[in-house]
Amino acid sequence: MNALSDQHLVTGVDHVAFPTFDPAATVRFYRDTLGFPVVHSICAAGWGPDDHPDFIHFFFDIGNEDRLAFFYYFGLQKPDVTHGKGDVHARFDEKTPDWFVRSRHLALHVRSEEHLLEYRRRLDASEWPVEMQIQHETIESIYTHDPNGYMVEITRALRPVTPQEDLDANLTIDALVDITGPGASLDALLVRKAELIVKRAEKWQRAQNAPEEARPAEVAEASEGPVRS
C-alpha cells in the first residue's frame, strides 16, 4: 500500500496501433477526409532482429491527446482479402457471422449531433461513405470501414450516464464474474444479478442520499469494485 495504491491513475489512450498495407489510403482517410492531424512518426531501419522489415510508425491525433497509430512495413506481403471477411490483420471465413467480425472496432467520441453530422458529411463526400447511422439506447453512432478494413464508429451520447448506471454496470460485471464458465447463460447472470441487487441496491441508494461528506466510505461499500464517482 502507498498513497497511490487505490487511485485510478491512467488518463486515456496513449495510442492504439494497427498495421496497414496501404499507407496512402490510410492518410487519405484519417488526415484528408476526417481531418485528424498527423502528430508523430518514426522511420525505422528494422528493429533489431534480421527478419524485421524497415517500417514507418505514424500517428494521428484523435482528440483528448489520444492517438491512433499505424505500422507500415516495407516489402511485407498484404494478406489476400479477396475472399472471406475481416480486415488486413484479422481474417475470417465466409461463414463467420458479421456481428462477430464487427465486434472488435474503434469508436471515437464527439460531443454533439452537429459534430457527428459533420463527420458524416466528410465521410459521405469521400471514398468511404457512412454505412450505417444508428441510434441505440443512449447513443447515436455512424459507422464505416477504413481502407484497411477496420471498422470505425463515431458516437455521441444522447444523455449523460447516470450514477445508477454505474452501479448497474458493476452489479452486472460482478454477476458475470460469478457465473462465468461452461454453460454460462444470460439466465444465470440475471438470477445472480437479482441476488446482488437485493444485497446492494438499497445500501447504494442510502449512500447516494447521504450528505456529501458521508458518501465515500458507503459508496465504496456498495460495490466490490471501483465505481466512477
Binding site: 441505440h136 439506447e137 443512449t138 444523455r159 447516470t162 450514477p163 445508477q164 448506471e165 452501479l167 448497474d168 452489479l171 439466465d187 440475471l190 438470477v191 444479478k193 437479482a194 441476488e195 446482488l196 441487487i197 437485493v198 446492494r200 441496491a201 438499497e202 445500501k203 447504494w204 441508494q205
Partner: protein, 82 residues
C-alpha cells in the same frame, strides 16, 4: 409463489414499467434505483404497448427472482416459474 423481475430506473425503461403497472395482479415497487415488478403469476408484457425500441427492449431486464424468461422477442416478454 411471488416472483420478481428487476428493471433499472432510467428514462429509457419507463415504458416497460408503465405497462407492468397496468397488469392485473402485478405490483411495482422500488429497491434502490431498481423497479421491482412482482406478481404471484407469470407476467407477459407487450413490447408495442411499451413503445420501446429493440435495443432498449432487449436490455431492460436487470434481474430475475423466481421466474425464468419463457419468451423475449419483438412482440413480448413473458416469464414462467423457475
Amino acid at each position: 409463489m411471488t416472483s420478481r423481475l428487476f428493471v433499472l430506473d432510467v428514462p429509457e425503461n419507463s415504458g416497460v414499467i408503465d405497462v407492468a403497472r397496468g397488469l392485473p395482479g402485478v405490483r411495482v415497487g422500488k429497491t434502490g434505483p431498481y423497479f421491482v415488478v412482482e406478481s404471484d403469476a407469470p407476467i407477459s408484457i407487450d413490447r408495442r404497448a411499451t413503445g420501446m425500441r429493440h435495443a432498449v427492449w432487449y436490455s431492460c431486464v436487470a434481474g430475475l427472482e423466481g421466474w425464468r424468461i419463457a419468451a423475449w422477442n419483438k412482440d413480448a416478454l413473458r416469464t414462467e416459474p423457475r
